[in-house]
């Protein structure tokens, strides 16, 4: 039987029960919509996060103390690990050890309140190198200037604060030149950062940055770092730099077995790989949940096709009496099922794309970040394929049932 006629016959069959066809296909529509939405949001999130990470520059390398975390307890260990010390930073700074390093900035974390007059606020406090941070994140102060190398070496009591910290402590007044207190220690505000919002690592608006030497000596009384960040000349040399860093630190820490490293090195590429893996696992998980809904939708299609086969028993008998072979009948009902689910797939893809664009708009509003929408071709193709496959799989049983009917029994059916 010619395929155009098969399709037209199938369409007639579906149209004659329009409401029923629409309701039946709703399950497929919802399933496909959800898949497109999940995949699209997953891809968008990945692009957003990767964009943020790339914002820190491909030539940034982070060294952290302790063992590379493989679970939540390891992450806690990291905070208390004291394996990265000033001597390590000095060794890394030497050109003969790691020739690619341009700047190196160790960091410590300080927990505590900051106060001015009667106002108190709890920001994220870093003992760091403010110039390094500014260069890495491409931020210049809104007011004032970053403290410099000399301030770090002289353990100066100076602070760079985020815009929200300024708002909280000073209201509408300018903070530059004023003295704030951190853990009963006075710091002069030298710069205020522009409003920037959440970055990959921390919220820039809620940060207070002081020289790491000052934080170590006066606030924490420690001689190690929580993190060492460094920048290299060229991102392409990252792998070579990592090798140099690992060799230098192992030598200093007397480590021969890399398995026993008391530090670990993170590159941008490494982070991106990790996040991409996490997101794809998450997307896969959500998609498999949706796949269950497609199976349920498919059962609905099968149910309705069975009803349809029963209702049209006489038509099947007639067609057989007029010379339709079993496979003609099979093809007719199979086409009907696939058209039904395929149409559901097309509607689902359209809705999914619309919702994705809508979600993108909302996310842009909420996060204040541009959210690039890209048509999820792979997901659309997948959705179409899956919906057609659902029609095939769940249509085959009713269609076979229809094709096996004896012509005279079918014709006699009341």
């Amino acid at each position: 039987m010619r395929i155009t006629y098969t399709a037209r016959t199938a369409l007639r069959g579906l149209r004659s029960n329009m409401t029923r066809s629409l309701l039946t296909v709703l399950g497929i529509v919802i399933g496909i919509t959800a898949i497109i939405l999940i995949v699209s949001i997953g891809q968008g999130t990945e692009r957003l996060i990767i964009g943020e990470i790339q914002g820190m520059g491909a030539n940034t390398i982070i060294i952290r103390p302790g063992k590379e975390p493989t679970g939540p307890t390891d992450a806690a260990d990291m905070l208390f690990a004291d394996s990265l010390k000033t001597g390590d930073v000095e060794a890394l700074r030497r050109k003969e050890n790691v020739p690619d390093i341009v700047t190196i900035a160790p960091a410590v974390m300080v927990s505590g309140n900051v106060s001015y007059g009667g106002e108190t606020y709890r920001p994220t406090i870093f003992g760091w190198d403010a110039e390094f941070m500014g260069k890495m994140m491409n931020i210049t102060p809104r007011e004032g200037e970053y403290f410099d190398e000399l301030d770090i070496r002289s353990k100066a009591s100076v602070a760079v604060i985020g815009s929200k910290v300024e708002d909280e402590l000073f209201g509408n007044d300018s903070a530059v030149g004023k003295t704030i207190r951190i853990k009963n220690h006075a710091f002069r505000v030298v710069a205020v950062l522009p409003s920037h919002g959440q970055s990959t690592l921390f919220n820039v608006d809620e940060v207070v940055v002081i020289p790491y030497t000052t934080a170590q000596t006066y606030l924490l009384g420690i001689n190690y770092f929580n993190e060492v960040m460094l920048q290299i000349e060229d991102a392409e040399d990252a792998d070579a730099a990592v090798v140099d860093i690992e060799r230098t630190l192992r030598e200093r820490h007397n480590i021969t077995d890399p398995e026993k490293d008391d530090f670990w090195v993170v590159t941008q590429e490494g982070i991106i790989d990790q996040i991409a893996t996490i997101l794809s696992v998450l997307t896969l998980f959500l998609s498999s949940v949706v796949a269950i809904s497609l199976v349920v939708g498919g059962i609905g299609v099968m149910n309705i096709m069975l009803v349809s086969v029963t209702e049209r028993t006489r038509e099947i008998g007639l067609r057989k009496a007029l010379g339709a072979r079993n496979r003609d009948i099979l093809l007719q009902f199979l086409t009907e099922a696939v058209l039904l689910t395929g149409a559901g797939g097309v509607v689902g893809i359209t809705l999914g794309i619309l919702f994705s664009i809508l979600a993108g708009t909302i996310i842009t509003q909420v996060l204040g970040r541009p959210w690039g929408f890209e048509f999820p071709y792979s997901a659309a193709l997948l959705g179409l394929g899956v919906s057609a496959a659902v029609g095939l799989v769940f249509g085959i049983y009713p269609a076979r049932k229809a094709s096996k009917k004896s012509p005279i029994e079918a014709l006699r059916y009341e």
């Binding site: 010619r2 038509e315 057989k320 009496a321 012509p407």
Partner: protein, 238 residues
């Protein structure tokens, strides 16, 4: 040579353990070009016989030769092909697709044939013209009168130029005028175009159009007679 030869055909329906014999061994043969009526009261097995002869049903025992070959030797697909190309069926209840037009209904058997798609409409229109329904070609089947429906059904039976037309009480649901018109068409097909026509009826008037009448009663052939005072279309119009 006979186009249809039945030798001791039986048909027994099984409902659970209960056997209901419907045909108890019927034998006869039909030559090409015959106009035959099968008569009998309801429950006599005449419809079952027609369904077996038309390959809509299978006999339980005995032998049925169609065009010299045993019906048992045909595969499912070959049977479908015979139903499609060699046989035309006309039913008492018309069995048209109600939402489809007359043209689409008549075209239906062509979908399952080897006729090239380009010829479908031409053939269907010719068949519709042959039964005098040209003015109804694009009407939805459900809007036709009973007589028109049966004529559309005959056009559908004709469209693949079959050797045999099986008609199962074709006038059973029609008023006498429409019935007369339908019988005229069938007779014309037999006489002018050489189609073998096998007709089931319980009306003596209708049967009288045939050249030969087989009387069936209780699953057996009671009488096989040649009609002498044949009621032809001409006598009707006089």
């Amino acid at each position: 040579m006979a186009i249809i030869e039945a030798r001791g055909i039986t048909k027994t329906y099984l409902d659970g353990d209960i056997e209901t014999p419907v045909l108890k061994g019927v034998s006869f043969s039909i030559n090409p070009g015959e106009f035959l009526a099968i008569m009998g009261p309801s429950g006599s097995g005449k419809s079952t016989l027609l369904h077996i002869l038309g390959f809509l049903d299978r006999h339980t025992s005995g032998a049925y030769f169609f065009d010299g070959a045993s019906a048992d030797s045909y595969s499912e697909d070959e049977l479908a092909n015979i139903r499609n190309t060699r046989i035309g069926f006309v039913f008492q209840s018309f069995n048209l697709l109600p939402r489809a037009s007359v043209l689409e209904n008549v075209r239906l058997p062509l979908l399952y044939s080897d006729v090239p798609e380009a010829d479908w409409d031409g053939r269907a229109r010719a068949a519709i013209e042959a039964v005098g329904l040209t003015h109804r070609t694009d009407y939805e089947a459900s809007r036709l009168s009973g007589g028109e429906k049966q004529r559309a059904a005959i056009a559908r039976a004709l469209v693949n130029h079959p050797d045999i037309i099986f008609a199962d009480e074709p006038t059973g649901n029609l008023d006498s005028a429409s019935g007369k018109a339908v019988m005229e068409i069938l007779e014309n097909l037999n006489r002018e175009h050489g189609h073998t026509v096998i007709l089931i009826t319980h009306e003596t008037d209708t049967a009288a159009h045939a050249e030969r009448i087989i009387h069936v009663r209780d699953g057996m052939i009671e009488r096989d007679e040649i009609v002498t005072d044949r009621l032809t279309a001409e006598t009707f119009t006089k």
